[in-house]
Every structure is written in C-alpha cells, then in structure tokens.
C-alpha cells in the first residue's frame, strides 16, 4: 500500500507529466485560458489515459512482448488510444446523450495529446504489474490535471496585468510555466 502511495505521489508531483517530462505542452498552452475548461479537459484526459493504459498493458504483456513485436509498440499504442477514445465517445453517446451534447461543443482533441502516448510508453519502461500500471497512469494524469488548473488560474490573473509588449501572451505564459516547474522541483525530495 505504502509503495503504491509513494509511486502515485512521485508520478503526480515529482515526475510530473508536463513540468518534468514536458509532455502535453500543446494542450497545456492551448486550453489553459480558463480554470473550468482546464478542469473539464483534465477530467477527460485522466479518463482516457487511465483506460488506454489498461488496454496498453494487456497488449504489451500478452501480445507484443511474447511475440517479440516491440518495434510495433508505438503504432499499436496509437491505435489503442484512438480506439479507446472512439469507444468512450460511443458509450457516452449511448448512455447519456444530453451530457454528450453538452461536452460536444468544447471537447478538445485528446487522441493527439502526446501525454497519453507518453504515459503508455513510460509504463512499458517501468515493467510494473497491472494495478501498479493503472495507478501510475491515473496519478500521472491527476498530476497533469493539477498543473493545468494551477496554470489556468495563473493565466486568468496574468490576463488582468499590464505586461510589457515584448513578453505579452505566450512568452509570458512560458516564463510562468518555467517558474511553476521550478516550484514543482521542490517536491523532488519526497520520493523518486
């Protein structure tokens, strides 16, 4: 239990997907203009990363590794992620058309989010069991969502400031992100 907790803490805070591994930067800069949309994106990405990691683990353990098809890993995982997103959309549409319609106007492209593929590939490197893999993926995506929401809050405040013209917009966003990354380095003593 303690092992799982430390691993999750490490995945969410110490080796944060965005600030330590630099994955999912396009959505980090593109969707974080408002806290509520960032949170919605966080929920969706957490779901997709966790569910696709379950299937990726099974594909890796029972298909790619026994048949020595490691060179097909990236393309297989991309297919799995696309299929997971498509399947999820179909199920949500079936079980809850109203909610599907509500989410429809703002859902961003999750399939092409490199954080989803990145976490799946990290799981292969980690050579963990099923539950550990799923918890690692879940914690990584919670860390992703946390940083998205924090950064969105900062950007909402930055939008009200008068920044010099030279760094206004994305440059100021990147400077803020780098300071946030430095702040997250403070967690590095907790666990690895």
């Amino acid at each position: 239990m303690r092992e799982y907790l430390l691993m999750m803490l490490g995945a969410a805070l110490v080796n944060n997907v965005i600030l330590a591994r630099f994955l999912g930067l396009c959505s980090f800069m593109g969707v974080t203009t408002r806290i509520d949309t960032s949170l919605g994106m966080g929920f969706a990405t957490t779901f997709v990363i966790t569910v696709s990691s379950m299937i990726d683990w099974a594909v890796e353990a029972w298909l790619l590794e026994p048949l020595e098809l490691g060179y097909l890993r990236t393309v297989t995982f991309i297919m799995v992620i696309a299929a997971a997103v498509q399947f999820t959309e179909m199920v949500i549409r079936k079980v809850s058309p109203t909610l599907f319609r509500t989410l429809g106007i703002y859902l961003p492209l999750i399939t092409t989010n490199c954080a989803v593929l990145g976490v799946a590939l990290l799981l292969v490197e980690g050579r963990m069991g099923f539950l550990a893999s799923v918890l690692f993926a879940f914690a990584s995506s919670v860390g992703y969502s946390l940083v998205m929401v924090i950064f969105a809050g900062l950007r909402e405040r930055l939008a009200l400031t008068q920044a010099p013209l030279l760094i206004e917009g994305p440059p100021l966003g990147f400077i803020t992100a780098s300071i946030l990354a430095l702040a997250f380095m403070g967690f590095s003593g907790i666990s690895t």
């Binding site: 966790t50 809850s96 109203t98 106007i105 703002y106 859902l107 092409t112 989010n113």
Partner: protein
C-alpha cells in the same frame, strides 16, 4: 456607511463558449455541428480536415450534431457562438468521466486484494468500468426530471472566432 449585504451581488461566471456551424434545418430547428477546438496548430489543421471515415474527426463531429431553436435568421453554413454555464459543463464532465473511472479503479483494487492476479484485475477493471457507465445511465435518468444544461445562443461567430 450603510452598506448592507444585499448590496453585494454575486457575479455570474462567464459562459463557456463554443462555436457551431449550421448544417441543416429540421422542423424549424437549426441542426448544429460543433466545431472542434484545436489546442495547437497541428490540432487545428486536423480539426479543419473534412475527410470522412470510421473514427475520423469529421465523422466524430457529425455524431455530435444537435438541434436548437434559434431566434436569428440563420442560413446553412453560418457559424454561431453558443454558451453553456461552466457549472453544468463541469457537472457533466464529472458524471461522465469520474464515475466510471472510480468504479474501474475500485474494482481493480478489490480484485488485486482478493485474487492477486493481473488477469483477474484487468477483468475486474473492465467490469467496474461497465458498471460505472451503468451508474451514469442511472444518474442521467435521475437528472431527467431536473432542468438540464441548456445552450444559449450568443450570436453569429466571426471568421477568426473559435471556442474558448
């Protein structure tokens, strides 16, 4: 100073806006197709791709079409701005994504504790996911009697306007 509490009114959170395109009219209702927001140039280019096929973006957007009564004189091809309250959007996200995910994680943890087998754990996780989606259906049925999230038509969208 005779300020009373009634002086301070809560400021309503601004609506989450999205852009949709009018694709048809059905019994006086506009059939709208939401535009996919792109998070970066690559995603934006993918969002503009019109190629149809199983799992393609155009096909996924076609699935999300919905009807809305409009007071504006709209034509097919017009782009309109829609707004939805952030609260209802977050509520929808939480119900659709969090419930099944929690069900899946809980079932996987229970299977690991009971059988300590990866195969059993995977089976339980998928079963938990299915159970979570059934819960979503139940919650949806329970919410059917309440006022659901409604879109507000905010007006015509400019040529460079996108969801935010």
């Amino acid at each position: 100073m005779n300020t009373t509490l009634s002086t301070f009114r809560p400021v309503a959170a601004p609506l989450v806006e999205g852009v949709a395109r009018v694709v048809a009219f059905d019994n006086g209702l506009a059939v709208l197709e939401p535009e996919q927001r792109g998070t970066c140039a690559g995603c934006g280019a993918a969002a503009r791709c019109e190629s149809q096929g199983i799992g393609s973006l155009a096909a996924r957007l076609a699935q999300r079409r919905f009807t809305l009564p409009t007071g504006l004189a709209l034509r097919v091809g017009d782009r309109v701005r829609l707004g939805v309250t952030p609260c209802s959007l977050l509520e929808a996200s939480a119900i659709v994504y969090v419930l099944p995910l929690l069900g899946s994680l809980l079932a996987a943890a229970l299977a690991q504790w009971r059988w300590a087998s990866d195969a059993a754990c995977l089976g339980a996780a998928l079963a938990g996911l299915a159970a979570g989606f059934l819960c979503v259906r139940g919650v949806e049925a329970w919410r059917a009697g309440r006022a659901g999230p409604e879109f507000e038509l905010l007006g015509l969208a400019g040529p460079d306007e996108s969801s935010r």
